[in-house]
């Protein structure tokens, strides 16, 4: 009993540590935060149940991503009448590529650095969207932008952050 407790405790700890990474993984496969969180939730249950199977010598993230991927498949099957973001072949390819990517870049601190480089109004806009979760209408009201400009600006911001993160990672390497 104590053995299984220790394993469960370890998995709980690892799950807590990597929970956000798994959510990111699921978001990239499903496109929706809420669906991703539901899937990770289910995956966590299975991970807990399979705690005894975990090989500590191997990295946790790819192992957990595999469970998450199976839950994504189950989720899609359950919601098969709904339109799916990715086709089956693309889902499989992206799932493999993204798991590798997350294992490499999981602890990247570049985002914080790159966010700080943005003008404060842009930082605030991203914070309102992602942290305070304002909807598009509220964001338009706060920023004074039209809906179209807002969406374009948000995409610009994400692209400049992405470019900054990539540059920073290259220079670090």
């Amino acid at each position: 009993m104590s053995g299984s407790n220790t394993e469960a405790e370890k998995i709980t700890g690892l799950l807590m540590q990597h929970h956000d990474t798994l959510v990111r993984y699921a978001i990239s496969l499903l496109g929706s935060e809420q669906d991703a969180r539901d899937v990770v939730q289910e995956a966590s249950i299975h991970l807990m149940r399979k705690a005894a199977d975990y090989d500590e010598d191997k990295p946790f993230v790819p192992w957990a991503c595999r469970f998450t991927y199976y839950e994504v498949l189950k989720y899609r099957e359950k919601n098969r009448r709904m339109p799916q973001l990715l086709d089956d072949d693309m889902l499989e390819i992206l799932a493999t590529e993204q798991a590798d990517r997350l294992q490499r870049d999981e602890r990247s601190e570049a985002l914080g650095f790159c966010l700080a480089e943005l003008p404060s109004a842009d930082q605030q806009l991203l914070e309102l969207k992602y942290h305070q979760e304002l909807d598009a209408n509220e964001l338009c009201e706060q920023s004074g932008m039209s809906r179209r400009s807002l969406f374009r600006h948000l995409q610009d911001l994400r692209e400049s952050l992405y470019a900054c993160i990539k540059n920073r990672e290259i220079s670090t390497v």
């Binding site: 009993m1 299984s4 407790n5 469960a8 405790e9 709980t12 799950l15 807590m16 929970h19 956000d20 959510v23 990111r24 993984y25 978001i27 990239s28 499903l30 496109g31 929706s32 991703a36 969180r37 990770v40 939730q41 289910e42 966590s44 249950i45 807990m48 339109p83 973001l85 990715l86 086709d87 693309m90 390819i93 992206l94 590529e97 993204q98 990517r101 997350l102 870049d105 985002l111 914080g112 605030q124 991203l126 914070e127 969207k129 992602y130 942290h131 598009a136 509220e138 706060q142 807002l150 969406f151 374009r152 948000l154 995409q155 994400r158 692209e159 952050l161 992405y162 993160i165 990539k166």
Partner: protein, 534 residues
Amino acid sequence: MKDSTHQQTREQMRELIGIICDQGAAALTSEQREDLNNLLRESPALRQEYAGLMDLHGQLITKQQWAPAEVVPFVSARPIPQRHSLRSIAAIAAVLVAGLFLLFWLMGRGIGGWTMGGGYLASREAAADTHLATLIESVDAVWQGGTTYAEGAPIGAGVLDLAAGEAAIRTRSGIRLYLNQGTRLELKTGNSAYLERGEIYFVNTETEWLGAPFLIQTPKAELEHLGTRYSIAVKADGVEELFVEEGAVIRKDSSGREEHIAQQSARRWSQTQQAGEEITFAKAAYYRRAAKRSDRGLPIVRETFDLAPDLAASLELGSGVGVKNTWLLWHGGQAVAEAEGASLGDFVHTEQGLITSQKAAVAGRLKIPIDLAQDEVTYFSFDLGLDPDVLRQSRSGGMYFAFRCADEVDQKIQISLTSRRKAAFRLETKISHYDSDLRGKAMAALPISPTETELRVVGKIVSHAAAADQIFVRVLPSYEEPSELEPWAWSLVGQSAAADFSLEWLTLHFRQDGGCAVKEIRLGRSWNSVVRVL
């Protein structure tokens, strides 16, 4: 040619990613989904870009540490310009200077919610001269400039400009004013306020109210209450509407004309009308509450624990509380969890009695019978892992817990709040029917009658990114129904703690020497969510 095609496909991909991130994947048309998959299939470079940008989107969603919102004083130093004489302007200038003086003085003290030193509530009396009111309810309230404030924030003289959501304040004399979104109200003194625009709902439920009447001024008139509840709205076109629910209101306009409006009646004054026009009194017509976000602050799950024949407890989590993780750990018995009506999706049971919850939004029922060996069990405790970011993101700036307990013999309840990062720190109180013992220096003695057989304990934990953390506990005897609003006074006020770390563990530790029942342990993000239906 190749370059321009590449540019076009990139542009197309960029647009599709933008839709997914900002409008949701469901907003894509079937053609757009097909295009997306084709682009991903055809170009590994675009696939890499898609994966990178979607991961960035995920990183932003899950990012925990955003810069804390700038804490600015609640008091605005800019009084509302009223269209009056030079004498008024001079008076306004005086108010402005006084306001600035007050602002600097308050900034020196660190005002803005739970503050440094002994915490604002602890030094309430010392600050009474400038503390005209308290923010008692904040439902997704965003003040002008995008600022938000925790419930409990002290309010001085100045302008309250509510851009979104709704809020309620309680004045020192006990008057409650509910502000609807879009309301601009200048709190002038402890007994007067100027409503420039918007809508307020006025409530005075103090049974022995002896102070001077609280006057509400509008651009057209002055309202004096002779009763308890009314709503006044100043609309954009200058129309004013008054609905008197209880008691009566005397309205005096600038020419000195007085109107007496009785309860259950309503009047409207247009720009040009002097005398009010009778309108239908209908409760739905006034105090239109701002649309609330459905996912916040409401208790949506209730869990029942059958601990032993004599012990019963249930746990109720408010939505949003377990967004990250909630752990429950008890000692001294074995338990097997069963779920009814829902999967164990959100709670995982292990042989240790550990349950983790990744989110609170679950329906169903979880039964956990625990086999308690009578001779061995001396206590059981719930360790609730509070995610510091969840605490900070709470709309009220705090987390609330409530439980009901009844006993036949002595029972001690120990409440402690600890920080994982600073194990040495502990804010703790211990209460029982017969004695009150507390280990936090600033805790007051707890007035509990030894004859009481049932208690309701409601606590508030405040974890503020930029100020001190504190715990407040209100103990309600069985005959006292909890108010729908957060209380003005607490039975226990915890010592405020340094602001550079956050309290993460709430332990409710129940020592039982005999029969004991702990019922309905709840966690929520607002006072109302944990006291309702108790």
